[in-house]
Subunit: 327 residues, 2 copies
DNA sequence: CTGAAAGCGCTAACAG
DNA sequence: CTGTTAGCGCTTTCAG
C-alpha cells in the first residue's frame, strides 16, 4: 500500500477501488491519522485560509463584518486569519506581507490606504483576490464591497432637515476615510436641498468613543448654534451622547444625535440611537464569497464591485430643535 | 551561491560571512524576494500561528479578549486564526481538528466543553499548548486564564444586599458554563451572608441580548417580588434593561440591574450600567503570552493557571428597592 | 564559511 | 486501479 494510494483514498479522487478506499479509511480512523495540511498546502499552492485585515475588531462594526466573513469561509472549508492594523500603515503593510508569505488564498481588507504604490502593485501582482471594504471604488483595480454610504449620509441629512435642523455638525473620523467622505457628501447633498440650511461644520478625530466625546464637547464649546450632530459611526455617536449628558445638555432635548451603522446596542443607549443601518454581516459574507469564488476559478479574475443598501432607523435621539431653526 | 547560503543569510544564522549576507540581502531586496512560509513551516514544524476559538466575536467580551491576544501574538511575530464556534460542539470539534491539521503552535479557546473525552485526549496528546478562557480549572490538565468570577459574583451580591435587596434573580447563560456557575456561587455566598435574603431565582437562556430580554420579561411576569436582576454578562443586562423599558418598569426605579464584564458601552446605556469589571484585554494578552512562552520551550510544559482580579463599577442601574425589602 | 545532499509530508503525473 | 518517481520551497546535517 503506497502513500499515493492513501492520498487518493483520503481525497476522494477518482480511480480507486471501493474496497481499497474503505480499507484505507478504516485504518486511518483506527490510527487516528490526519493528513498534514501544511505539506498539502505546499504542494497544491492553496492554503484554504484567507486573511482579514481590519482596523480594530473591538469596533462592533468590524466584529459583525468579520463574523459574516467567517461564516462564509467556514461553509467553504476555509479559515480566516485576523489582523488588527489600527490606522497604522506600517502595521498594515507588514500584515499584508506576512499574509502573502503565508500564501493565503485571498485578502479581505478594510482599506488599502496604508500601502504605498509599490506595495499596492505587489499585492495586485500576487494574483490572489483582494476585496476592499467600504471603500469607494478607486483607481486601484481591487474588488470592493461597500454600503451605500452617500445614500446613508443623505438619509441622515434629510431626516434632520425634516425635523427642522438647519445647522448641523458632522463628527467624522480621520481624513483619509473614503467612506466617511461619502457620508459627508450625502449629508451635504441633503442639506443644500433644504432652504435655509447652511453647510455642516465638520470635525475630525479618531473614530471611537473618546473621539466622539471630544468632538461633541468641542461643538458645545465653540458652536452653540449647532442643533444636531451626525456621527460618522455609532461609536462616535455614543461618545457624543455621553458628552452631552456630562455637559448637562442631553439628547434629544438639547441636541439631536444621529449615528451610522446600527450596531446592536444602538437600541439600548440612553436615549436609543437613531441611526443609518448598514448590512454589516452581509457585507462580510459577500466579500468572503467573492474571494472564495475568485479562488475557485483559475486565471486572473476581474475586479467586481458590490454596493449594499442602507436604511434609516428612527429611534429617540433626534427631535426638532428647541427654538425652530437655528440663529 | 547555494540556496542554503541564502537561507542562512535570511535567517540570520551564525557562520556566514558579513559580505555574503549583505550581498544576499541586497539581491533579495532587489528581486523583492520573500521566502515561502509554508515551506518553512513544513520543515521546522512551527507555524507561528495560533488558533483562537471563541463562541462569537460579536460578543464585545470576546472582541476585547481577541484583541489582547492578537496584540500579544503580533509582538511575538505570530498570527491568529479566528474561529466562531457558537455553542455548537460539532463545530468546535471540527475547528480543533482543523487547527491541529494546520499545525498551529497553540490553541486559545473559550471552553473545551464541546469535546468528548477522546477528543480532549487527542488535543492533550498533540503536544501543543492549550489555554482555556474563563473556565474553572477542571480535571483536564490544560492551562487556564480566568477572571475571579466567584469574587465578581460576590461583589455584585454584596452591592445589591447593601442597597437593601433581598430577593434577586440571576439571569444566566446555558447550563454548562462553568464561569457563570462561579458567578452564581459568589452571588449566593453574598446573599446567604445577609439576613433576610432568600436564595436567588436562576433563569437560563442564550447569553445574548434576546436571552436577557426574555429572562427579564419572565421575571416580571412570574416573580413580581424580585427587586434586582444580576445578569451573567452585560449583553444580557442590556436585553433586560430594554425589556424593563418596554414593560414600563425601567431600571433602576422599578428594578435594579447589575451586569458583568464592563463592556465599553456599559457607560452609555440608559441608564448607565452598574457592572463588575473583568480585565478582558489583559486576559487575552495573558493567555497568548502563556502560549507563546510554552511554545518557546521544548518538551512538555506544565499547565498553569492565572486568575485575574475584578472590581465593581457603580453607575446608575441600581438603586434601593421601592418599598424596602421585598414581600 | 559555503556547497552538497537529504528530507519535511504530501500530491500529481506517468507507467505498469 | 495501484505503485513509482518527481518535486513543492525550504532548513539542516555533513562534508569540504
Amino acid at each position: 500500500m503506497d502513500v499515493s494510494t492513501v492520498s487518493r483514498s483520503l481525497n476522494g479522487s477518482y480511480g480507486i477501488h471501493r474496497d481499497t478506499r474503505e480499507k484505507v479509511l478504516a485504518i486511518a480512523a483506527r490510527l487516528n491519522y490526519r493528513p498534514n495540511r501544511v505539506a498539502r498546502n505546499l504542494v497544491t499552492g492553496r492554503s484554504h485560509t484567507v486573511g482579514l485585515i481590519v482596523s480594530d475588531i473591538r469596533n462592533p462594526f468590524f466584529a459583525e463584518v468579520v463574523r459574516g466573513a467567517e461564516d462564509a469561509a467556514c461553509e467553504a472549508g476555509c479559515e480566516i486569519v485576523l489582523c488588527n492594523a489600527d490606522l497604522d500603515s506600517g502595521k498594515q503593510a507588514r500584515y499584508v506581507q506576512s499574509l502573502l508569505d503565508k500564501r493565503v488564498d485571498g485578502i479581505l481588507m478594510n482599506s488599502v490606504g496604508g500601502l504605498d504604490r509599490p506595495q499596492q502593485e505587489q499585492l495586485a501582482l500576487s494574483g490572489i483576490p483582494v476585496v476592499l471594504l467600504n471603500r469607494p471604488r478607486s483607481g486601484s483595480n481591487f474588488s470592493t464591497v461597500t454600503a451605500d454610504n452617500q445614500e446613508g449620509g443623505y438619509l441622515a441629512g434629510e431626516h434632520l432637515a425634516k425635523l427642522g435642523h438647519r445647522k448641523v455638525a458632522y463628527l467624522s473620523g480621520p481624513r483619509d476615510h473614503g467612506n466617511m467622505r461619502e457620508r459627508a457628501r450625502g449629508l451635504i447633498r441633503a442639506l443644500t436641498a433644504t432652504p435655509g440650511a447652511v453647510a455642516p461644520i465638520v470635525l475630525r478625530a479618531p473614530h471611537n468613543f473618546r473621539g466622539g466625546y471630544e468632538m461633541a464637547s468641542a461643538i458645545l464649546a465653540r458652536h452653540p448654534d449647532v442643533t444636531a450632530l451626525f456621527a460618522a459611526n455609532d461609536t462616535i455617536a455614543f461618545g457624543a451622547i455621553r458628552a452631552l449628558i456630562d455637559a448637562g445638555r442631553p439628547a434629544p432635548r438639547h441636541m439631536s444625535v444621529i449615528g451610522f451603522d446600527n450596531v446592536e446596542l444602538a437600541s439600548v443607549s440612553g436615549p436609543p440611537l437613531t441611526t443609518v443601518h448598514q448590512p454589516k454581516y452581509e457585507m462580510g459574507r459577500a466579500a468572503m464569497e467573492m474571494i472564495i469564488q475568485a479562488t475557485a476559478m483559475q486565471g486572473p479574475h476581474l475586479p467586481e464591485h458590490r454596493i449594499l443598501g442602507v436604511k434609516l432607523v428612527e429611534r429617540e435621539s433626534c427631535a426638532a430643535p428647541r427654538n425652530g431653526s437655528a440663529i
